[in-house]
Structure formats: C-alpha cells, structure tokens
Symmetry: D2
Subunit: 350 residues, 4 copies
C-alpha cells in the first residue's frame, strides 16, 4: 500500500498516518515529493484494507501495491510451475477449459420448448460442441419480457443431455433456485448482472459445481478477479483451483452501434494475472449475428480458453437474443474456422 | 416500435417484417428512405418486445417508441393532475420524500458499535435529519473486507430509533435476509450493485416497506426506471405509487479523480419521465468528504427530493467509507446551507 | 513519482530502476511490499516525465506524485493568499469571471443573420448578460452541415457589440483564422474538440486575448488542466494568471437520453486544484432546452464562476443547436433564478 | 430520417413538424404509437440535417435512417462489385492495404536520433515491414514533454527511406507544418486527438498523399466514418476511394489496467459499413509491450487490413512510449505469427 498525501497536508498529518501504520504493526517510509508527500508501507503479509486509513487528514489517495485478490492470482498457485489451471467437467479429460484445451459451449439463449432444445443440442453436437447452453431462469431488463420455463426448462436440458451426451451450462439467477439449478447443471453460470451479487457468489461457492463467472458490464478486471476470489475463498476445501471459469462478454461504453464493447485486452491481461481459464462470449460481446464469427476468431487468437456462443435452430423466431444467434450451419462453419485457427495459436478443440 | 431495415435488405425482407407485424395484430407502415427503409408499427396498446422480430432478415435496428416502463411513467399516473408522488414514511405527514417535501437521511456507512450508531443518530437528528442510515449487511468488493454486524447491527439501529425517533433506512442485500431486515427497517434500500438483481426486486416488492432504489453504476436512466417498474409491478394491490424512491449515486466513467461521476442530468430528465421522487447520494457521487457539500447543493438546485449522506462521529476511524463521510459539524453546516437553498428552489426541510 | 514494480520483477530490475533514478540526480527509496516492490523518488523540483523510465524491465506502473501541471495549480499562485484568479474582460471591473464575480455569456450557437444576432444581443442584454456568444466558424461532425458565416459573421458580432456594449465570446477553430477571429473577439473560445489541439493552444497563448477553454468530451480533469498549462506556459510574460477561463460542458458516457453527461463533480475538484475560474455550459451539458435551467442552477450551487448559455430568438428555426437553445423569455427567467440563488451561494451577477 | 415526438406533444406540434417536412419538399408519414407519435420522412435523396427541425415543439428525438456519411459507405462504391478499396502506396502493387493485402507499418514512436531511426528501419525491414513509422512532430499531453525533432526528424526519416526502401508513415499535427510533412511523407497520419480537427482534415484532403486516419479516443464509429467523409469530400477529383486508411487504436473506457480499450468490434462493423481498409494499432490499443502480440493477432483474425506497431531498438531508453514498444526480436517473432495466421484468415503479408 502506498499513501499519497494532499499537497496541503501538514507535518502533523504525515505523522498521524505514520502512527496509524505503526499501530497496525507495519513500517512507514516517508518520501517528500515535488508538490506532495508519499508514504510507503512494508511489513504486511497480505493486502491492507484502505479502510484502515479512512478519514485520516491530508490523505489524497491510497494505492494498493498488492491487488486485492490472492487465491486466483498467478503467483499464488506456485505448484503450477507455469501451468495454468484446467477446469475439467465430468469424467472425460478432453472435456474442459484451460491449459491448451479449448471448450466449446453452444445453444440457444433460452430453453423455449422440447423441440427447440433437442434440435439445438443435436445441431451443436454435430458441429463440435461438447457443452449445451440454454437459460431456464432468465434475468430480463423488463418485467414484461419472457423469463424462461423455470424447472420445466431444466428438465428439458437434462433430457437433451441424455439424448446427446452434451454437458449442461445454465444460469443460476438467485440463491432461492440455486439447489434446483445445481441438481440439473454440470456448470453453473453466474451472469454479468450478478457478478457482484456477493450472496450468490458465496452460495455458489458452497456447491460442488464448476462455475462460469461472467464479467459485469461495468466491472474492471480487478473487480472481476475479486468476484472470482469470493468463489475461491468459499471453496478452500475443494479443488477450487480447477473449478472456476472466467468469461469476457463485453463492457458498456459510449459506442452505440454494438450491444457491448468486447474487451479483447482482457485476455492477455488476465493471462498474466490469474491461473484461471478465460473464455469468450462473442454473442453478447457484439450482439450482431453476422459479426460474431470475427469476434470469436479474435478471442481465440488473443488467448481464449473456450467459447460460449448462442445458436438457435430458427433465430428468426427465437424468444430472446435471436438477433445475435447463429444458425446451426453458421455455427458449424465457425467451429471449422476455429479448428484451423487453433492449430496456429496452440488451442485444441477435441 | 420503429424498425430500421439494413441498407442491403431486399423487398422480401421488408415484406417478411410486415407479415410478422400483421400476424401480431398490428399495422405496418413502410417508409423507403435515402439509403434504407424504415417500418413503423401502430395499433399496439403496450410496448412490443423487440424479441418479436428477433432474427428476421435485414433488420438493422428496432427503436421503441414507447419506453419499456409504464407504471412509473409520468403519463401513467393521470390522477396526479401534475402532482408528483410523495413517499410518506410513518404516521408523520412531514416525514417523506417528493412533491416539495425534502427528506434528509444521514448516518454512517456501516453500523460499527452501539456507541458509534447512537452517537451518529443523536448527531444527525440534532442537525435536522429525520432518517438514520447505517449498513448491517454490507456488500463489499473484496471478500476480505468488513461485511457488517448482521442482525446485531439491525438491533442497534432499532435501539437508535427508540432513542431518537429517527426512521431507519438500511440496505437489504439478498432475499435470504430480506424478512429479517424488513422486520427492523422503515425503508428498505436496494444498493447499486443489486439494481438489476431482479429476484431481489421482486421479493422486495412483496413487502410492505417503502423502497429506496439506487441507480446501478452502469445503468441507463431507462434501465433504472425499468428496475423500478419491477417493484411497482409487484405492488399493484398496494399504494405502490407512493412507496418507491429513486436515488442517483453516480455512474462509472473514465474520470479517475472522483469515485464516481454524479449524473446531475438525471434529476431534470427523471422529473419529466416519472412521478416517483428522486433523491441524491452525494457521498458516493463524488467520494471525497470535502466536496460532498457542493454536490449536495447542486442536487437540490437541480430538483432532488431528498438526500442520503454519510456522516460518522469519527471519520478517521470509520471501518468503511470514512474518506467520504462528513463529521457531525460538517453535516450540520450542510443542512443549514440546504435550508437556505431550499427557500430559493421550493424545497422544504421540515 | 512512485514506481510500482511487477510482482515478477527481480532484484536486478529494481537495481536498474534505482540506477536510472540516481543517474537523473534524484534519490531512490526501495520499499518491498506484500506482492511487489515500490520505488519512491525524491529530490526532483518539478514533475518527472514517465518517459524517463520507459521500457525499464519489471515496471508495472509509474504514479506521478506531482500532477503534470504547475502554473495553473492552486499551490503555484502563492501571491493569491487563498484568493482565486479573476479574469476581467475590458475596462469594467464588474465584467469578468472568478473570485465571486459570476459572468453570464449568452447568445445563439451560430451567427445566422444580421437580424438574428442583433435580436439575440438585445434580448440577452436585457435579461442581464454581459457577454454575447455566437459562432462564425463552426466545427461540425458532418462535412455537409452549416459551417458558419465566417468573417461576415465576425463583422455582425462586432456590430452587435457596437449596438449593445456586450463583449464578444466566439470560437477559434484553427490557427489559419486565429488572427482574424482575435481581431474581432473579446474572448477567444477553444472548443471541446480542440482541447488537445496543442498547436492551436500554443498559437492562442501568443495572443493578448483571454481564452475560454472547453473541456474535451473524453478529457480527464488532469488532462484539462494540462491543456490550460499549455496556454499558461505560452503566456509567461503576460498576466496569464488572469486570462484563462475553464469551462465544463459535459463528458461522453454510456447514457443516451442526454447529449452529454454534465460532470458536476468538476467544480469542487477543480476549485481545489486550480486558481483559474471555472464556468458551466449547461446547454451542451444536457442538450435539452427544457432541462438547461436545472443544470445551470446546479452548476452555480456547486461553485461555478459563470455560465455560457445558448439563447436564440426563434429556436424552432435555428440552423444549429435549436433543440438546446432557450428563448429570450426562458433565459430571462433563468437569470432571475440565478440572481436569487447567487445570494445564497455567494455569487454576484452584476 | 425518423422523428419521435414527445409523449406530451399535441396535434399542433405534429402538424408543425409535417409542415416543415413538406416545406423541405419531402413527404411526411405520421404514425401514432402507444405512448407517443413518430413521423417518417421520405423523398430525400441525401441525409437530412437534424438542424432542419431544431426547436420545433414536441420533438423527442430525430433518428437518421441514412447515416451521415456517403462517399465512404459500402453502398456508394457500386463499381466495387463487392471488392473493397485497396490503398496502394508507391509503384509496387504489393505495397498497400486492403482487399486481401495486409500492410505492416513499424518503427519507433518518435524519431530520436540518426542512429536510432536507421537501426529501427533496418530492423523492421528485416522482420518484414514495408513501411516505417516515426514521429517528428509529437502532440503530447504535457507542454513539458519531448515534442519531437521537427524537420530534422523528417530528414532522418527520408534518409532511412533511402537506406532501406521502406515507405514513410508520419504524423501531421497541424496545418502550419502540413506542406513540410507532406514533402517527406509517403503516408500522412492524422492522430487520434486530431480526428475531429476538421480544418486539418480539409487541408490534408487537398494534398496528394494517402491518409492514415486514427479513431479518436471517444469517437463513435459513425463519427469516425464522418471524419473520413471530410477527407473523401475534399478529394472528389482524385482517386480518393483508394487513398484513405482507417485505424482502430483503442477507445477510452472505465478500465484502468490498460492504456485504452482496443475495440475489436470495430473491424467487422466497419467492414460492413465502408469500403475503406481498416488497420490496427495494438501498441496504443493496450499500451503494454508484452500484451501487444495477442492484440495484434486478434485484430488480424477479426479482419484487419494491416498493422502499425511501435518497435524500438532499445525500448528501455526510448524517449516516448517505451513501455509499449516491442524489441526488433519481439517484432520479428510477431510478424512470423501473423504470416502463419494470415494463411488461415486470408490475409497476405508480402
């Protein structure tokens, strides 16, 4: 932690900050600068809460030298010897995300009917997906929109799993329905709007399911990792290292031609900061079906460990997100592009 | 709803869209433009879900003419005859927000101890507040930060109410603790990170408590009103019109010198769009104690119906948000400024 | 300057940074932290360019303790003894901005005709303005839009000055037309899109005219002050301290209901950081005529030293910005509100 | 153009808008909606300025159906028969950008010395670049930073061209130095801060040099294309279609871990909207040397037509942007990655 004092701060203010630092059992280093003074802290073995210095007079800013997340940080997993985590789902070792393995999740935004989800499942499996996505509980901006088939939708997903062998990735939107969703899902998805729903993160961490955590639309990468830290911290007894998947799905900016701004920078930055696999959601990242393949290729080229893509047997009649859903044929063409691309960028699609 | 076709859309695409419109029982109006065609829809009595046209070929954009919220819209409450809603809390008609009545909520970010909350309560009451704020359940970005005293904190708030007569405003962070919080609180606060936690909004709507809804840090004003619509829609049988308070608390932008960017524009815009009262949280809006009074004055001058301000008897030792908390003396000075200002801008602080 | 080393940085990297610091004649302070090392620099008498450390291995971030602007900083003007600068325009000491004096600039977006600008001038003078705004050279997003009457427009502004005694504030958009514009203008306006047009800032600094510098739509407050520093640095021989006016006009964010997001936080923050007067442009700040008065009141309440407002004798037929222009009657009502408000917040409108 | 009326607009307001439309020689289509009325316009042969309706009472929004740019739009260049423009520089047909040809520009941020620029030129040529970048006139945020070697720098670039045969890409920052820069440069770069410096765009359009236009840090894609339209509109007599190159270099968002947020979505969107080639600047797009290759690969995979990359023989001692500059070895490795990637995504690096 580094503390920048206000240019107007007096000697007494500086001494008060140093006293606080010493009272916490740490060492203070005072450095007078051209226009203001900075105070460094050493001796701490873990991040110091900024709150510890709240309201001390004359403080301009507190700058964390350590970054507020630890279990998910690259440094923490020393046993990795450079290897990143891999989240294997189910018994098949080729079914997972990370450390070279590229997992493909595909399916409709929402489960709409038995016919629709079974058609989707067979189509995406034929194209090469190993995971089926589909929402049974849908968070929607408007209270008047379609909110999903609830448990009926979960049962249809289970039927699709039976029929195809695909593993199920579906969103859990609240703690009330967590047990129900966890009973059907192979991977629990926490949506962008819930990235900082800390009660849900804590509850999810207590299940035995791998978690797919989506980045919030206004979350910094540091906040994204801190949200993952919530799940890791709740899983200390489990092999948590290999049970959390991060997903970049676009952030909110001033640009209006696209649904979101897909943050491609997130891949190299997160690769440096964390051992967790990071996958891409190009469907929400740009929101325009014709442009999804370009963003998907870009994400793989930037280092993504997998992909979650919206595919619908009949996008024109989808109840939600049809405008950004690929047709089965479009998805198959994309997977072929990704297989060729994977050979160049060291990613394997089983 | 207006549908803009892609410049490359063909006659067949346009006809397909018109057919869809007719099939929904509405009327289509085709308008060829300089570079693309637009199609207008009439005959609908409520907003049309964009989903209805998902995936139809050649659609560039769907533009809602109506705005996705209805119960909370200015137009809806025709009985108001121009009067905006007022949220009265408790039996005292001067204790509320809106329609000229300016409510003042003050207190610490978190309830830390019996001494701290009682000292805060007496101090803010003496300065003119009618409501006491204080968090017992704190959502925090880091899993390692202070998360509040839980039910013990709620009991201390109740004790402070007994001792001062102040009404209690406290945050509910999840559905699991809703009943407990509702048993102690006079007003339930839904925080910025939960603005789109739709399960929580629905659960809160089923209680009998007035709700203080904070704007999400990346929420548009339209999304803010749609979140309020969730609460209103769940309260149809209650006098819901007078039970929801909106709160602008700053949005996330590229500026780094302040904690958030306080969106002063929200006040005149929301005043035109909704009958609900809108209050300000200048403490989070700028995040710097010395600058809070300027933002508070600005919000009142722009039309705010109330204020929620962080005040701590000893900000230097606050466990959270000390850097943006006013001292009791600073708060008292601010309330005096606001009383004088209120006379100029037609706001009454009882 | 503080340098944060990367968690992976080695002892050699730290030593290399220290060697660079010593080679610059400064002193290095090494501070090992929990997960990474920080190095502080002292002994410098002015800001150090981050470039000096460019590319040294293992550096995570450079944090300026001093802030890249000096002449415009509050600290610099020690002779002020707490008084802020006042920019007086012309011989009349009551005609200016800052240190309690509130200057009002009003007029149309563009000079359109002799009748229009004279009608505007008489109307805004009658309402209490001391300065007339009007664009003769208009930067427009589209090459096909109206770009102003050029020198003819400047002559009409001069005629309006003759007829009313109002002082002229008009925009200079490039160095080629600077001399011409300076020959007619009393105050040179540099527009938001030119805030970082450094060649224009340097050229403007060499004139003898006071400058009204608008904040860029994506400029941080630090960049805004650094742009003002360009002008101050070029005026060392003149009484530059009293010749630069800053103007907050809204920043670009994700919100789409308003033209820009007016950054009310800028007023208290800039008041702490600089001695220069700061005025508000509520017309561009929200972009909706009916909402301009609320934003104008808010800016004055937050500490603005003046206002620039678009007023048109017939907004319905304005060639540009009609949607955000007040009528003369609307402007007169606003000035009356501001006079009453000024009495409460210590601002005088002569 | 579509006009959305305010929910409160009266019949008279609607009639007034229609009258205005008719007076312009166009046809009005009135469409009453659920909560407000929309009016469509047809009969126009080119975009209608929103200004035409400025201030008419009761207008909520004007929505352009056509998009404010025409010469640079995909539709305009019907002669292309689906082929996009290619900007060939110099006599060599393999030296250019677009229509499958991938141009590589590399070199230091600034020309610092004869040794530095010659070493850079030989190194990037050996690695496969055909173009040398290097700034002689540097726009810098701080007036106290290094601003380039001016004409001396241009002469050194010319010498490097003599020595290596590389073509020169260098920035022109103002109209005063345009002729001088154009006398040395093969391609004129207009920087991000000047994207809306319309006087510079107009002046540049009158030269015979190809132009590399960088996207402004807060510019929407529509504004980016309108800025290119300024250059095209000034070049009607020249083969302007093949003389403008667009460059995505990252936009400003709330994320602070990276210098900018590289907008990967820009590539597929611009490919649909314009016939102009679009290249990438990953160096500024992320601002961290170790992460530049990942972003560069992503841009090519998303459809970029070229790349401009900062390379310095000794980044540790660069006078500017060293932190984001690759070493010659790092650049050579990247070009090899891009050659392999190009085979998969149909891009040829000569």
């Amino acid at each position: 932690m580094l503390i920048l004092m206000d240019p107007k701060a007096g000697e007494g203010d500086v001494q008060a900050v140093c006293a606080r630092i010493e009272s916490l059992g740490f060492t203070a280093h005072v450095m007078p600068g051209a226009t203001s003074t900075a105070i460094g802290i050493t001796g701490n073995t873990h991040p110091i809460e900024e709150d510890r210095f709240a309201g001390l007079a004359g403080i301009a800013r507190c700058i964390p030298v350590s970054r507020g997340f630890k279990l998910v940080s690259k440094e923490f997993r020393s046993d990795l010897a450079g290897r990143d985590s891999r989240v294997q789902v189910g018994p098949d070792p080729t079914c997972g995300f990370g450390a070279g393995m590229f997992g493909v999740i595909a399916g409709p935004c929402s489960v709409e009917s038995r016919e629709q989800i079974l058609a989707s499942a067979h189509a995406v499996k034929a194209a090469g997906a190993r995971f089926l996505r589909g929402g049974a509980f849908k968070p929607r901006t408007s209270p008047y929109a379609f909110h999903g088939l609830k448990e009926e939708g979960l049962k249809l997903l289970a039927e699709a799993r039976e029929a195809t062998g695909l593993l199920i990735v579906t969103e859990v939107k609240d703690t009330d329905t967590l047990d129900m969703v966890a009973a059907y899902a192979d991977v629990l998805q926490v949506g962008a709007r819930n990235m900082q729903n800390f009660s849900l993160l804590e509850a999810v961490s207590r299940t035995s399911r791998p978690v797919l955590l989506k980045r919030g639309m206004a979350a910094t990468l540091a906040e994204f990792l801190q949200a993952a830290e919530y799940i890791a911290a709740g899983r200390r007894d489990q092999p948590w290292q290999d049970s959390i998947i991060l997903c970049e799905r676009g952030i909110r900016t001033f640009e209006t031609m696209t649904r979101n701004t897909f943050d491609i920078n997130a891949f190299p930055v997160l690769r440096r900061l964390t051992h967790l696999p990071v996958i891409a959601d190009p469907s929400h990242g740009i929101g325009i079906a014709s442009d999804v393949p370009a963003v998907a290729r870009a994400a793989m080229a930037a280092g993504a460990d997998g992909m979650i893509i919206e595919v619908h047997p009949d996008p024109r009649n989808a109840l939600s997100d049809g405008a950004q859903s690929l047709t089965p044929a479009g998805f198959e063409a994309l997977v072929q592009q990704l297989r060729r691309l994977g050979e160049v960028v060291d990613r394997t699609i089983p």
